[in-house]
Amino acid sequence: MFKKKSEHAVRSFATASVLLAAVAGSAGITPAFAGTINIMETGSTLLYPLFNLWVPAYTRAHPRVRINTEGTGSGTGISEAISGVAQIGASDAYMSNTQVKQNPNILNIPLAISAQTVNYNIPGLNTVHLKLNGPVLAGIYDGHIRYWNAPAISRLNPGVRLPHHRITPIHRTDGSGDTFIFSQYLSFSTPYWNSHVAYGTTISWPAVPGGLGALGNPGMVQAAAQTPYSIAYIGVSFTKEVQRAHLGTALLENRAGRFLLPTKATVEDAANQLVNKTPVNERISLVFAPGAESYPIINYEYAIVNDHQASMATANALRKFLMWAVSLQGGNSRSFLRQVRFIALPARISALSRKQIAKIR
């Protein structure tokens, strides 16, 4: 009884904010003339650059479809796909079981595979790839490990002269899929973190004096660049910005105990490990995959879509666009994905995504 009511109220609160966004957004949309189909995409800022590559290419070939893109955050993507304001909600995180139970019509469709780097700004050491693992990162982010030359870090990096300086851990203040996969890495590798902090798009960061919050991936890069002796987690589509800011990139320890950088090979290996475990509804974490050459922090980038669209025409256009997006000749081709350093879906996952897309009516 209460559940129903609260759900309704949450939705009306969400709708209010969505309405505002729609009013603000509509200024830029010319009235649809006969035959034009409008599709609205909103959500993850990590997927946003990819959609901005896809949409012009796709609409050039399909002039009757107009697709508007917005980078607002994964949480907004999910809630606007549920409320129906957006046809595509972009999200780095899959929906929780309870959310799916409340919204059985909503599909979680992987579009591509992304990865995340852990970056640091240690004057003099940014060209060195430091080795870090889940328990050490958990220690840094919960305040147990306070100095760069702490024994736990030195032990992983013999021969590196680490400075005796306080570490400033930087986290995202906005709800973020990056926080989701980073905290999953900590949870899956560190039992203490899992039982005390756990994972989510926002988590209750333990109190680390001096610990910093930043807005979005651009904010993470700027805060890390500006704060000596800081550490941050950043989506792989921002690698160019990370390089421009001369930040260091960590080798992360995977489940098999190997320290790796995210390359096309290590990300693909990690994805391949979990291809056969991916269920039909495709809601699964790819973080901390088994396998010697698996990079530990990767994830599916999702389109959150309602399988009951308002009109047949919208459903058809949406289905066609998403089919194009997951195909190797279309949106999953190397020419698009290379620019944001994403990896194409493996064949089996692509088939599962197509099966889900076909359900859109």
């Binding site: 949450v10 079981n97 986290h171 709800g175």
Partner: protein, 321 residues
């Protein structure tokens, strides 16, 4: 007789304002009621904000359905809000009084018109512009120049010593807020000063007062009520400012500032930064707790206003002279 409909219309229109205020209060109260019963008084004293495990099934706790581990305490944000606003006013009040006096008394009429216009224009600049400036220019400046300077001069005071950090934090947020508040206070006070009856000034001059004494003894006391009113306006803006603070505050979570350079979070900016995640809470408790923060912010704004009114007592405004 013909005045009657006019009168009724006026009463109706006038009552819209208190009604809107009441409507906001009722909406916030009703909407956040489940959160109020769930959180209890702990909401105000707790300093841990935890949405709980949004990926586990929610359970019944304290009569409400909420995620496991959900725990909402906002004392850190209340402290952040009050501290930034207080420091911002400490910086802004002397500056804006100086600006107002200079504009009203220290300039020839042409320059006065132009500069007054500029000050009023500053009050109309959208807050996000101040935030962007703070983010790009001020935070590096605080980290490299203002912070070290303050520490070397005032470092003997505990609140000014200790690590300076990255520049994001209490000091940067307060400076940005002060900049946003100065034009509001300055424009209002300048207006009041220019309305001080000339007879009053002339009388003071006739008694042999210097220009400075005229301003200090005759003009400022006359506009005392206006000054306090202007400060309340400024305080209102500082308490509720969202975007600009969010961009420079450093988003501290779960800990109190240890010095003036520490990262902090204010209530208004926290609501914005958390809404996206809160909407992922299937029970809705997170969004309702954010609404409860809004309610508390509303109450704090009312309380500070009432206190300010009591402080001014029955002091007159120059416009009512």
């Amino acid at each position: 007789m013909t005045l009657r409909p006019f009168r009724i219309a006026l009463v109706l229109i006038t009552s819209l304002i208190p009604l809107a205020l009441l409507a906001i209060l009722v909406f916030l109260g009703r909407y956040s009621w489940p959160a109020i019963t769930f959180n209890g008084w702990h909401f105000l004293w707790g300093h841990t904000w935890n949405l709980g495990n949004l990926y586990a099934d929610p359970i019944m706790q304290r009569g409400q359905l909420a995620p496991i581990g959900a725990n909402y305490g906002i004392l850190v944000f209340i402290v952040g809000t009050l501290l930034t606003s207080a420091i911002a006013l400490l910086i802004a009040i002397p500056v804006s009084l100086g600006v107002a006096i200079f504009l009203a008394e220290g300039l020839g009429s042409n320059l006065k018109i132009i500069l007054s216009f500029v000050v009023e224009l500053l009050a109309a600049v959208p807050s996000v512009v101040y935030g962007l400036w703070g983010y790009a220019v001020l935070t590096p400046l605080v980290a490299r120049v203002i912070g070290p300077g303050l520490r070397s001069t005032l470092g003997f005071l505990p609140f000014f010593s200790g690590p300076i950090g990255s520049g994001y934090g209490l000091l940067a947020a307060s400076i940005v807020l002060a900049l946003m508040v100065v034009p509001i206070i300055a424009a209002t006070v300048r207006d009041a000063l220019s309305q001080v009856p000339p007879e009053m000034k002339e009388a003071a001059y006739a008694l042999g007062a210097t220009h400075f004494e005229v301003v200090r003894r005759a003009m400022l006391p006359t506009v005392r009520g206006n000054i306090i009113g202007a400060c309340i306006l400024g305080l209102g803006r500082a308490l509720g400012e969202t975007m600009a603070v969010l961009m420079v505050s450093g988003g501290a979570l779960n800990y109190f500032p240890s010095n003036i350079y520490s990262p902090i979070t204010t209530m208004a900016s926290f609501i914005v930064s958390q809404l996206d995640s809160a909407m992922q809470d299937p029970t809705g408790m997170a969004v309702r707790s954010l609404a409860e923060i809004a309610l508390i912010l509303f109450i704090i704004a009312v309380i500070t206003n009432v206190i300010a009114r009591l402080l001014t007592g029955t002091s007159r405004n120059v416009s009512s002279v």
